[in-house]
Subunit: 505 residues, 2 copies
């Protein structure tokens, strides 16, 4: 019944196409806009990236948490400000109202609030999140995309967890080999102190902070214009801000800021100075200080940060073209792909910060705060950098190590199908990744082509006479043709010989 | 602004709870119905299960495919018959209409149809699927749950791929250690032949097949009643079916069926007999024949199967109580959890079959068929069996191997925080999973408790004098208290000593 329904449907939908009319109703064979399939070499590289960061996370005591792909709508409500319009809702089909998760941080905070017994944890989560944003597919801006978060929750001595989070970030970016990168680092409370000292009214601090955050995309005069013309800040206040937010450097900048009497007198800033002093010490101890730039222009969009904030950039992060005000206006079609928009770069490849109040927002218990610090790696952005850099033939879609073949001929020749099955079974039992061709009688050329297609490095050849004599031939693949006849070994030592050979590759 | 909005919201939602009224509007702190968080020991076991099957899939040349969690609605339309009502739709927020995937097979077929260059592939996919069904959480029946599929697509010599698919299934169930299991095996075309020979009208074959499929849940007389009373089959036809579908056995049953003249004369059945003969040969060759029961009562619900079908069951698969007709009626509340319903068992732990026509349904090209055979493991059902069986203290939430501690005292005692950081850095660089306590001065007891909480097997102790003398102490954890003082080793050989010790555990 289902099959006939399907065939009906197919005829209906494909009818016009078959009659040559391209305009008719067609069976749309695609993934939804802003989503993609991950297959073959792409998925192999992506899995390698996942494996690399997972190893590092586990090495630091991380445990994974897996939350549902959708949450009750009210859990997400009010968490993302203006961006809430980008949340995907599920259709109301009766029962609860749900939305697809927008990030992995809010579900983590929700889980912590639901599990008050957990007072400290290092959790990581690599999973897809959903945003109805304008896609720019080739730059890794998607509607469905992976986030990769590592967060440390708990009440600890100052800056110790923060420094390990930064250590993990450096280990990950180094291990992934993303090329030269810089991690911009700042402290929310220094920034708040600067705004207070410069005379920004407290109700404007977050919106002025957002304007500052655009300094990586537009020059100071445009940011200043936004502050004064759009956000109504007096020009002299903006000018004072300008004197601070363009500063960047290392621990010596901290000394310079401390020497600023007005700023040192500010309670918010002076507390943060103590934090930064300790953090720099621990970072030096971890040997990671040289990767960072203490950068007053880094403000980060999200409101929930309460301590250090950071963002890692590479050359690919910056847009090819600085956006003028005109450019920033989005295309009229919100569904259009913006891959060719030069005012969009790959963006930051990692970011994060400390957020001490988010968990408490989900809890009805008094003082139910659980301070957190976390990093988030932009794995798809990192993927697009690496995919362009790594030569295609260095990537393999599958991991098969041995292709089992049979060569023979003449009237008596059976094709050795069962013999190939047996040899494969032996290899599988020994943990060796092996394949054979699903043909009763397979020609040598077909078998070599099948092995070469996926770059299988070794062949085990069952020669008609050799195999009956108790031997198999082990041959390296991918060498020049006929350059290597392989080595004849007794079947009994096949597995150990193969293991030796595979370990040497 | 977001923070203040949140706080507002919190006050609003939590207001009544604070005033002691439990009935008021509350901030609902839960996951959506039929979904769950995977955390701590649960997720550790689940990851182990995923790792075991992934290794086996890769050993057989499998490559992973990752498709979007939602598909265009029309891709899913018409694929699931009556169960289509269980599909989750996304809200229409402008743009395309989308639905959450219901299984991993239809997205795989969609992908193959979109990528006609791929003429053969072994793909696996472990991912969540979505069904708005009545949940029975403790039995692994969820609305969001993992499927784990391995499928072989391509045109090959008869039954070779099928036999490797069954070999993979056996390897997986054996490696997972699910306990005693049986895999019921049948062939759609034998079943169709039986129905034809017994006189079932062709338009009733699928519905009668569905009735037969219930033989694992109810006795023959109830199934017969359904065939005759509900589905209008003449009683003598039902009786003839009864003579066949209660048969089960091994290759000798195949001989018996072949000896049945009427059945052998049926074109559908006789072709399938050839398939089964070859399959049994290959299965014997792979050494897996003893795990199977050739079972005429296995029909499988899905319509798209065209060849072999199979289903693995354990003791936990069967319901505690055979459902009478009355029981089968679902509760009035479709949202109610049915965990305590004894007429529901864990169900089959794996299933699959051959489906040669599904890919073609997505394609407008002529003869665009791509034959497939696949297995699907019920990983959450397997999880619930293993979680009950494995003692809790054998599971660890994290994988930390070494806890780095410092012991000291007196006025000069700094707490060795930076020293612990340095030692950890050294261990991390050597690939050893290590942690330290995020306290400047940590008491020995606190450090031991932190290590014991997660069952960390080894401690590296930085004694105040010992460390200054260039030595660290390596101590096995989890032994009786004070039974082991550990071994003092020079710091320079710490990593190699630890690697030796960890390898021996």
């Amino acid at each position: 019944a289902q099959v006939s329904k399907l065939l009906e449907l197919k005829n209906l939908k494909l009818g016009d196409a078959k009659n040559g009319s391209k305009k008719g109703t067609q069976f749309t064979l695609k993934t939804p806009k802003g989503t993609r399939d991950w297959a073959e070499k792409d998925v192999a590289l992506r899995e390698k990236i996942f494996g690399t960061v997972t190893d590092i996370f586990k090495r630091h005591g991380g445990v994974t948490l897996d939350t549902p792909v959708f949450e009750l709508k009210e859990i997400l409500t009010g968490k993302y400000g203006e961006d809430s319009k980008l949340i995907y809702d599920l259709k109301d089909q009766g029962g609860e109202l749900c939305s697809l998760r927008y990030d992995l941080t809010v579900p983590f905070a929700r889980w912590l609030a639901m599990n008050p017994k957990i007072t400290s944890i290092k959790r990581f989560h690599i999973a897809k999140v959903y945003r109805r944003d304008q896609p720019a597919m080739t730059k890794g801006r998607m509607r469905e995309f992976y986030q990769c978060d590592f967060d440390i929750a708990g009440t600890f001595d100052s800056m110790v967890a923060d420094s390990e989070a930064l250590k993990i970030l450096v280990e990950a970016l180094d291990a992934l080999n993303v090329g030269k990168y810089t991690i911009k680092l700042n402290h929310r409370k220094i920034l708040d102190g600067i705004f207070e000292v410069c005379g920004v009214p407290s109700d404007k601090i977050r919106t002025i902070s957002s304007a500052v955050d655009k300094l990586d995309k537009m020059p100071w005069e445009n940011v200043k214009e936004e502050m004064t013309e759009e956000k109504g800040l007096p020009e002299e206040v903006a000018d004072r801000i300008g004197e601070y937010v363009l500063l960047k450097g290392g621990p010596e900048l901290l000394a310079k800021l401390k020497a600023d009497e007005k700023l040192s007198a500010n309670k918010s800033a002076s507390g943060a100075f103590e934090d930064m002093k300790l953090l720099f010490e621990y970072m030096e101890n971890f040997g990671i200080l040289d990767r960072f730039s203490f950068d007053m222009s880094l403000a980060r969009g999200l409101d929930y940060y309460t301590g250090i904030i950071f963002e890692a950039v590479t050359e690919a992060s910056a847009p090819k073209k600085i956006a003028s005000k005109k450019d920033v206006k989005k295309s009229d079609d919100p569904e259009a792909d913006r891959s060719n928009d030069d005012t969009i770069g790959v963006g930051s490849i990692a970011a994060g910060g400390r957020y001490d109040n988010l968990v408490g927002m989900f809890s009805s218990r008094k003082n139910a705060q659980l301070p957190c610090v976390g990093i988030s790696l932009g794995l798809e952005r990192i993927f697009s950098i690496l995919r362009n850099r790594i030569p295609d033939d260095e990537l393999r879609a599958n991991e098969v190590e041995v292709y089992v073949m049979a060569f023979g001929g003449g009237k008596e020749w059976t094709g050795f199908l069962k013999e190939r099955m047996n040899v494969c079974s032996e290899l599988w039992a020994a943990g060796i990744k092996a394949e054979f061709l699903y043909k009763v009688k397979a020609k040598p050329r077909q078998q070599f082509e099948a092995a070469d297609k996926y770059g299988v490095p070794v062949a085990v050849i069952l020669g008609q006479d050799e195999f009956n004599g108790g031997n198999v031939r082990i041959k390296r693949m991918g060498q020049k043709e006929n350059s290597d006849e392989g080595v004849l070994v007794p079947r009994a030592s096949m597995v150990s010989e193969l293991k030796k050979l595979l370990a040497s590759l």
